[in-house]
Amino acid sequence: MSPIPVTEADLHAFLDGALPEARRGDVEAYLAAHPDEAARLAAYRQQIEGLRARFDTVLEEPVPERLAQVVQLPPRRPALLRVAAVSGWLVVGAAAGWLARGVEAPSPPRTVQIARDAALAHAVYVPEVRHPVEVAADQEEHLVAWLSKRLGGEVRAPQLTAQGFHLVGGRLLPGDAGPAAQFMYQDNSGRRLTLYVRTAATENQETAFRFTQEGGVRVFYWVDGPFGYALTGEIEREPLLRAANAVYAQFNP
């Protein structure tokens, strides 16, 4: 007989293929010695086979149209309209960028550069556990005043609490033509977003959302008045877009 008594849980683990290899022999020996228990387990095995025989046919049925439609369209219409609006922007932005290509120098347009710099700064500071920011959110007033002074214009840290992200803090960074600011946000599961801000070239006053992706890192970037912005995160495109919309809306009330 087995040294450890076989429990009811062991029998079900055996049936469901979840019993450790070393324990299997014990259960087999127990079942050989207890035909009534073996019969009970055989009946349970028949239940599983019966369930599959009865319901596996559902897998072969064509998916009803109303269900297929759910995954093709966003569930809420306002969200759809917002996505469509920004998608339009993206097309316009991409077309403008492509047209500008022949005119400008071979170096990437400055708006593309900001996305690269932002993604790089994101990748450097987001994994930081002890020093993710220079100035923490509890000194937000000081942080904002300091960064505004260095960037030469009023910079604010937008609220993303409605999107589930709270401000961690910020830091000053070297940009391609002067100082840049990085605000870091975090949600309850520890995922982080960064908002990268720097002065825009004076000739470039456009306002367009553009999107780029490098591996799992997604960036929405745009130019708005005196600053260029890039919101970066390793979250899905939709929530990142919602956050970018929120940032934009707070600077354009």
């Binding site: 009811e8 849980a9 998916v63 269900l67 759910v70 369209l73 966003p74 939709e238």
Partner: protein
Amino acid sequence: MDDLGALIAPQIPRLRRYARALTGERGRADDLVQDTLERALGRFHLWRRGSDLRAWLFTIMHNLFVNQVRTADPLADGADLDTVTVAARGGPADVTDLLDLDAALRRLPDEHREVLLLVGLEQLSHQEAAAVLGVPLGTVMSRLSRARERLRRLMAGEPAPSVSLRVVK
């Protein structure tokens, strides 16, 4: 939105299979699937990429199902399994005819049917089933044990057990 839909779409047949077995009605099952898909898309940012998408969808479906049952039958809210068991024993469930699988499934308490289907039909591990149902592993094991024995007796035309099964660890 396309990539979210593309991730979730392949899961629909299995969600439908589980919902059909759970509710026993095609229309109600597809309503439950539709609610599940809509909620999943609305809360997709809560899904941790890399974690099991199917288990997450089953969790959403379980929560919707439980809420629907509570709404449909206020008495079910707060009624523990022992109460349900006693009621079933004295009620029409206590027939000695052989029941087919569909009818026997209908006679199981919801908690029993859920765990039986998640493990037996959907082949979730006991741990995954515990996560989907939001209960400890030990609860899954005891429910699974009782559900299987109850279903066996229903289908064999035996009366419900008068004594509790052996205690599970």
